[in-house]
């Protein structure tokens, strides 16, 4: 479903992604692990359509649609969802107002009717209870003043409500306490189905104990260095990235 081919991306005159290639099949959970500053967040931003990157070569296809041609909201309409490593605080925009606007925007783009308020409230209540998000938190402005863990849970709530085809989780585990890690993982697992794909960026094996990946990819220096099964994550836990980082680029 997701196909990234030979992607080269620069910021200013510095190349960050250097021929990144990856395929994620429908139903697959792919994990990407890699040292700090390798370009993992850059990759997720480029897939979601953030400004400020120069794409010099390559393509990103989602079910055959070239995402690079689309504005961010159209990528969302096509089923892309990014759980941000650093969710943005938006003071003044109420969580509920935002959630409804997001759900309706996507419904409209699919040609569906807007969700009615009781139905919306019900959906939010169901999903927020699963994620242990309090009603009080939902009454506050979006992400503003939320703790690190609260922000991450808010991202997963949005994912649950929007039901994307491709979910990219950029270090969603960082900042979560042990219990939250479990609830968030359950949230992800309950969305798993043969039609959906996941790209999970993490530094820690622990998350992958809860969300069992089908494939694990080691990313270093702007591209995938090695791909394997879940056992690859265990190997990384033991030996770190030393085998994947060449000296010449450092």
């Amino acid at each position: 479903m997701l196909e990234v081919n030979d992607l080269h991306v620069s910021v200013g005159d510095r190349e960050i992604l250097k021929g990144f290639t990856l395929k994620v099949a429908a139903g697959e959970v792919a994990a990407i692990m890699g040292p700090n500053g390798t370009g993992k967040s850059t990759l997720s931003y480029v897939i979601a359509g953030r400004e400020g990157y120069t794409i010099t070569r390559g393509e990103i296809l989602l079910n055959g649609v070239n995402l690079l041609d689309l504005a961010p909201h159209m990528r969302a309409a096509n089923g892309v969802f990014l759980a941000f490593q650093y969710p943005v605080e938006i003071p003044g925009v109420a969580c509920m107002q935002f959630l409804k606007a997001a759900m309706n925007a996507q419904r409209r783009s699919r040609g569906d009717e807007e969700i009615n308020t009781p139905e919306f409230m019900k959906r939010v209540r169901e999903e927020s209870e699963k994620l242990k998000i309090s009603q009080e938190m939902l009454r506050r402005p979006l992400n503003s003043g939320f703790s690190g863990g609260e922000k991450k849970r808010m991202e997963i709530l949005q994912m649950a409500l929007l039901q994307p085809k491709l979910s990219i989780l950029d270090e969603t585990d960082s900042g979560l306490d042990i219990d939250a890690l479990k609830t968030v993982s359950e949230g992800v697992n309950s969305l798993r189905n043969p039609a959906r794909g996941f790209l999970i960026i993490t530094h820690y094996q622990r998350l992958l104990d809860y969300i069992k990946p089908d494939t694990v990819h080691v990313m270093a220096q702007g591209r995938i260095q090695k791909s394997g099964g879940a056992e690859l994550a265990l190997e990384l836990e033991k030996h770190g990235y030393q085998n994947y980082v060449s000296n010449e680029a450092a």
């Binding site: 909201h73 938006i90 003071p91 003044g92 935002f98 949005q158």
Partner: protein
């Protein structure tokens, strides 16, 4: 320089000729004399640097003719409504005889006893703050308006609304004097609606005098479908012990406009909140100029303004906080922020602190910029298109200035106006 170069006479001389057909008090004559001497303020005066009012009034309009216009006015608020049409009271459209107990409304023109004129037309208490002739001009020319007196202890929940409607090219000078006795409290809505398609000039003064522990909730709304409204709205406020004013202003008109506030916190624990939102669409020039003087200890002032500037519009914010030596433990806060929606829009911001006491808390801040790109991307990544995402962010930005709204009805009213404005903007761009 005092002469109007295009007509070679003083602007608004005709208004004075008409006004002086009635007997005139000494205050009014003296005010006219001061104005004749100095003329309208221009950019060479420090506080008019960004807003050259003389240049904007090169051609002064005449007072409206006395023809009775047939006009339908929808009621936008549930209120005791007082209507001034093209500067003159419309009895038939006003609730002047329906006022509740404890509220006494007099028309300044009909019941023109000298005593009332003296109260409402003497602005000498503000002479240390006012350095120009705008209020003098109003004093000399006010063609209509009200003296509203609230009896001790009376608290009104239903607002009093002053609706100033302009339907044709003319100049309008109106004045409201609100006298709040001890422990009284009212909501006042001050609406200016310019529907003149051929321009209008307005000089409106609201003079509020607040006795101890009284309160005024003021919502000023400048609006209308008409073209190029040039004008000044002045608020003069004197607050005694424990009195408070909570003022919200919303600009949504086409034109060249200043709202100026001169406030004196005369006694302990007096406090004033002055918030505002400016929506500027085309070539509008909107100015908020504020001077708050803390004269007594433990007084508080708070100002939050948001400007949303589109196309070639210009915003001005000038805020001055003066803390007199006696006003220890005073607290003054002032903040203005602008979002520029176009490269051609501009914002001028000038905060000033004049502090003569040592134990005070005063701060100010101003920012000016575009819509936050990170926030915009975050919203778009969830499926909102660019316009919808921007609207949401602009609405949130504007509402930071209206967080002090006490009245849900007013709050919803402004929300709807904002939504309409954003909707129109969206369809034009």
């Amino acid at each position: 320089m005092r002469l109007n170069p295009s007509e070679n006479i003083l602007p608004f001389e005709i208004n004075y000729a008409q006004a002086s057909a009635h007997e005139m008090s000494r205050e009014r004559k003296e005010a006219w004399a001061r104005y004749s001497n100095l003329g309208l303020p221009n950019h060479r005066l420090e506080s008019w640097r960004y807003t050259d009012f003389r240049a904007a009034c090169l051609k002064s309009f005449h007072p409206a003719d006395k023809a009775i216009d047939n006009i339908e006015l929808v009621r936008e608020h549930e209120s005791y409504r007082l209507v001034l049409l093209n500067g003159v009271l419309r009895h038939d459209l006003s609730d002047i005889n329906l006022m509740p107990d404890g509220v006494n409304v007099d028309n300044i023109y009909e019941n023109q006893s000298n005593l009332k004129e003296n109260i409402s037309f003497n602005t000498s208490n503000f002479s240390n703050l006012i350095k120009d002739t705008i209020v003098d001009l109003n004093t000399a020319l006010a063609s209509d308006g009200f003296i509203i007196k609230i009896t001790e202890g009376v608290e009104l929940t239903k607002p009093i609304e002053i609706l100033n409607v302009i339907t044709k090219q003319c100049s309008v000078f109106t004045r409201i004097f609100v006298d709040l006795s001890e422990n009284s409290r009212i909501n006042l809505i001050e609406t200016l609606k310019n529907n003149s398609l051929h321009g209008a000039q307005v000089n409106h003064v609201l003079y509020a005098k607040l006795a101890p522990n009284s309160g005024l909730d003021l919502f000023s709304y400048l609006s209308g479908s008409g073209q190029s409204c040039t004008g000044i709205l002045t608020l003069l406020a004197e607050l005694e012990r424990g009195a408070s004013i909570n003022s919200n202003v919303l600009f949504n008109l086409n034109g060249f406009f200043r709202r100026q506030v001169f406030a004196k916190l005369k006694e302990e624990h007096a406090n004033i909140t002055l918030n505002g939102v400016v929506l500027a669409k085309t070539k509008d020039h909107i100015d908020n100029t504020i001077a708050v003087e803390h004269c007594a200890p433990n007084t508080m002032s708070n100002e939050v303004f948001r400007y949303i500037l589109n196309n070639k519009s210009v915003g001005v914010f000038q805020g001055k906080i003066i803390v007199q030596p006696a006003a220890q433990k005073s607290d003054g806060f002032m903040q203005s922020k602008a979002i520029l929606l176009s490269d051609l829009a501009a914002m001028n911001s000038k905060p000033e602190l004049e502090i003569f006491a040592d134990d005070v808390k005063c701060s100010h801040g101003s920012t000016c910029g575009e819509i936050d790109k990170e926030q915009l991307f975050y919203l778009m990544s969830r499926g909102l298109d660019e316009q919808e995402a921007k609207s949401l962010l602009i609405e949130a930005f504007a509402f930071e200035a209206f967080s002090a709204f006490k009245d849900d009805k007013m709050s919803n009213f402004t929300k709807n106006i904002l939504a309409d404005w954003l909707f129109i903007k969206r369809n034009l761009s």
